[in-house]
Each structure stands twice: as C-alpha cells, then as structure tokens.
Symmetry: C2
Amino acid sequence: MGKRPTQEQVARLAETSTAVVSYVVNNGPRPVAENTRKRVLEAIAATGYRPNSAARTLVSGRSSVIGLVVPDLANPFLALLAQSIEHELFSRAYSMLIGDSADEQRREASVVETLLTHEISGLIWYTVAQPPPQDVLDKLTIPTVILNDIEREDLSAADEAGRVVSVLADEREAARLATEHLVDHGRQRIAHVGGPSQRLNSAARARGWLDAVAASDLRPGGQIAAPFTRQGGFESAAQLVELECDAVVAANEMQGIGLLAGLRRAGVRVPEDLGVIALNGTTAADYSLPTLTTVEMLTADLAAEIADTLDSDSQALTIVPDVRMIARESCGCANIGFGTGR
Amino acid sequence: MGKRPTQEQVARLAETSTAVVSYVVNNGPRPVAENTRKRVLEAIAATGYRPNSAARTLVSGRSSVIGLVVPDLANPFLALLAQSIEHELFSRAYSMLIGDSADEQRREASVVETLLTHEISGLIWYTVAQPPPQDVLDKLTIPTVILNDIEREDLSAADEAGRVVSVLADEREAARLATEHLVDHGRQRIAHVGGPSQRLNSAARARGWLDAVAASDLRPGGQIAAPFTRQGGFESAAQLVELECDAVVAANEMQGIGLLAGLRRAGVRVPEDLGVIALNGTTAADYSLPTLTTVEMLTADLAAEIADTLDSDSQALTIVPDVRMIARESCGCANIGFGTGR
DNA sequence: ATGAAAGCGCTAACAT
DNA sequence: ATGTTAGCGCTTTCAT
C-alpha cells in the first residue's frame, strides 16, 4: 500500500511551490505562466498525482459529494432514479454517496446523519414518511431536495435557517392523469392501491386519484392499503375483486406487476374486466402480460433540475418534474408498445 | 448555512481538551474517566457536534467510505446487489460511494479514478470487460474486490504491489447448474443467450453452459449474442426459433423476461416447446408469465464476504458466493412458487 | 507570476 | 487520566 504522491512532491519535481501546483490543478485562482504550467503538468503525469479530496474538503468546506437517500434501491423505479441522478452528478464532477433507508424511519434518520458526517455538499432525500422527521430536518444546513410532496409549513424551520430546501410535488398530478385516462376508457368504479395505511407517504397520489374521480362525477371505487412491493400488489387482487371495480390505479410499478399476476390467478381478465395503470413506471412495463400502462417520470430531466437546484443555490422552492402516460395494454389501449422496448 | 460545531467547542464547553473529546468519540485509544466522559457526551449533545470526516480521513488516511462501481444500476440484479452491499457496509459503519459505468469502458475508467480521488478505503468493482483495463488496475492501491471471473495472471501486477485483489468466480457454476437442470428435464438442444459478442464478460457463463452440455453428451444448441437488456432478450427470440432448440439459458433475468415476451409473440409455448432459465435472478421472476426459473446469487451472503475481505485485509484470492436454483414454471417445473413472492 | 505560511478539524504521540 | 501539540494535504492570503 504505497503512499500516494502529494502536491509537495509534484512541486519539488516541477521546481516550484505547492501554491502554483494548486493554481494549475484548479485552474486558478491565480494565473500561472505557460511555461511553469507545463512543467507542473508533466510532474503530475510523472508522479501520478491525484488531489486528495479529504484535504480539499477540509480546507474548502465543500466536498463535491452529494448524498442520496432512497427507501428501497431494489425498487426498479428508484434504481432508475438513482442511476439518472448519478449520471447527472457525474457529468458535473460530483460523486454520489448513497444510503438505503430500507423504508424504516429509524434507519433513515441514521443514514441521513451518517451522510452529513461526510460533509456532503448537498442532499437528495426520498423520504420514507410525510412529513419527514422534524429533528432530522433541523440538522440540515446544506442544500437539500426532498423527494416527496411536503407541506411548505413543515419546512419553515429549515427555510428560516437559510437552507435551500426544495420539494418534488408531482405524484398528485401523475395519479390524476392515470385516473383520468381510465375515466376516458369509460371505467365507472376506479379503485386505488396505495401504500401502507400507517404511512402518509402516498397521500399525494390518493389526492390526485380523488381529484380525477370527483371531476368526472364518479364515486371512488375504494382504496386498498398495500406494501409498495410486487407481493403487496399480488395480494391486493383479492380485495379488488370484492370491491367490484372495473379499474385500478396502483401506486407503483411493482404493485402493478404484482396486481397483474394476482388478477390473472383470480381469473380476472385485464383489461377486459379490469383496467390497470401504475404510477412511477419503467421500461419493465413493456414486458409484462398484458403490458402495463404506466405514468412515468422523466427521470433524466428531473435529475438535471435537482442538480441545478443543488449547485446553484437556486431559490426554487418546488420542482415539478414532467410526467407522461405511456399507454400500453392493461388500461384497454390494446396493441400499443408491446414488447417493443420503446 | 451556519458553521458546524467543532471538537474544540465541545472541549471548551466540557472544560477539557480536544484530545479527550476525541478519546470519547472514538472510544479510545486512551481511557477517559467516567465523569469526564459524561460531561463530554453532554457537550456533544448540547452543541450538536458531529465529527468532520474530511479531517478524520486526512489525518488517519482511511475514510470509512467504500466505492462501488456497477455497469447498470437500473438492472434489477445489480440494484439488488448494490442494496445488499449498502446494507452490509452500513452495518459496519461504512458509507458507500456509487458509480455507474453505463457499461462503457471509457466511462468506467473515469468513474473508478474519481472514486479513488475520494480516498475510499476499498473498492468493489463489477467490471465491464474481462479482463479489466490493466492501466486502471495498476492504479489500485487499496483493497479491491473485482466482481467478475478474472484470470489470476491478469492480476499479478496488482498482487505484487501488495494490494488485496479478490475475485468473484461463480457464474460458471450458475450456468452449469441451470443447464444441468434443463438436461434433467430431458431437453435435447440447449442454447445460450450470452452478452454482446465483442465482450468477454460472459465467458464464464458460456463455459458453465458448455460444461454441462458436454457432461451429458449433448451437442450445444447454439449461442446467441445479445445486449444484457430485456430488449436484447426479446429480440433473441426469433433467432432462438431458427436454432430449433428446446431450451435456453439466458445470461441474466432481464434477458429472460424479454425472451418470455418475445417467445410469446412468436407463438412459442414456454415451457412446453421451450424451457427457459435465467441467471442472476431476483424476486421479480415470481411475477412473469410463466414465472421464470432462475439461478440466484445469495447477495446478502456475498455482500458479507465482500465486506469481510475489504476490512480485514483477508488474504482470500477468490470469493465463491452461494448460488441456488429457484425452479419455477419456465423450465417445466409447473406450479411452483407462482406469484407467492416466496 | 510565484512563494511562504497560516490554517481547515482531527488523531495520536508525547508530555504531565 | 488529561492536556499539548505536531502534523495529515490542500487552498489561499499576503508578501515579494
């Protein structure tokens, strides 16, 4: 485990000072003569020097590392989101520390605090609960993007402390879109499979669903609380049958996929007997049977907006990512996009 | 953005020195009187002090951060692996920096170098190619686990430099298991859908497949090169039909899922006409139609072994993770595990 | 344009 | 048991 070369060794080899090496490496803040710069670059190449980011962070107080906290990295949508964010951050010369809260609030608090320990210069936090724990929020002194539909007042303390805390508020619109589409298909009783009832997490989705139902003078088809898993969706199928609905909006794609399997087993035909749309879809929806109509978030765009917010200290209080519906078979839009992988 | 409290402030409040605060925080290396310890802990609570990890890293040379590089975080298997590793590392008080190489060697090199910049104390690298680029290997001065079936000689340079470089070598066995199972089902012509042909990446899987085919005096049913995506699997279906096989081993679950959709479309019945098994499966395989028989890696165990290797400087040269076959419908083992979510 | 030097917050060797 | 202090590698102010 040989020690890595330091700035000092580079300076010695280039016959100059560490200050100048620093100027060259960082392209400033002071000018360097072309000649000297060249010697320094050669010395860097010769020694294999790479700046030590711990030292850099210590002196500058900024780390070029962003933290991301998600409740379940094995959820394909969250994995996709994480990937999009990683790509965006990488292109801006940031690295990404990732924490998985396992959908548990206790663990989440601990994960966030650990990340803060690393002097991250920004935090992207897909919270488990809504609102997020106040005591953790109070510890945030860095630009933070909360990925959940938060009431502004929950953040007042954070705002006052001068932190940039932004918020994603789209799930409501996504749910509204999905429900509306089912209405357009002529569905009469539209149910909603949401998250576990003890969690407020999915309140926004439920609201969007109710918005659309109300707007079309229908009665809500009933709401089912289920874990955000394929198994959760699978098990909801039976309840759904009892509710005698003809359509359902699932809170996420995993539930949607589970639902399809459960309905198949229950002998319910999709989309003939029951239309299904899931939120937060990925390309995996192209390969189920039937293919699953979803509402997708444009994660690449969202990632870019998040990054903008974090490194420009933008004053945006809310980010509203674009959302679009991908009509496939499960809602009744037959023969669209089947297995094409888009 | 108020400055965070430092050790010095804690010391002042507790009326002691920074050294003692350090001893308390790190539980050593020197003893502290019970009384003093209590005052320090109170001061920490009062100030909200959290150690600055940049300073810690700088002085100690170790960072409590491990780097993970994967080719595609949106691949459910890799997402699961990343999650398992994150959980294991978290339980050992490590944090995880993650880089997505996007399955491109150029990007991969850059991602690895960026991680090295952060003084990570270990690297877990699911390489794009086999063997991994030598120039990058040569830069590794930290314990590293390469997740790919590497020839020992490719690492000789790394070993000589005293680095702990360990290797995962299981894919061959996984492929052998899968193929053998298809043989047991009486399949005669067993094909293999591997990775893109210009990549050696999947050589181990191909070897395991050939091992099993040879052991049963069958002729190989043909090999198809396809991207490691659902779309790749989907498009292989047509070629598979031409090969007139009665079984196939797909290199990963995404290909397997795509294959099922493609075969369905081509009017091929699974498992009646064609048996399908995919490697590196996840629980998602429980919800396809038919449910997809897979060989799974026990990612939790693997993660634990990896972590052991990284923080104990273990001398193990190879990690052989446990692998097990989950028989579902697609191979011909009907009515097993259908939608049960296990 | 270049260099000397003062820290950034922390750990641990070395006093006491 | 506790305190003092010398760096860890880097950035940047302040000379020159």
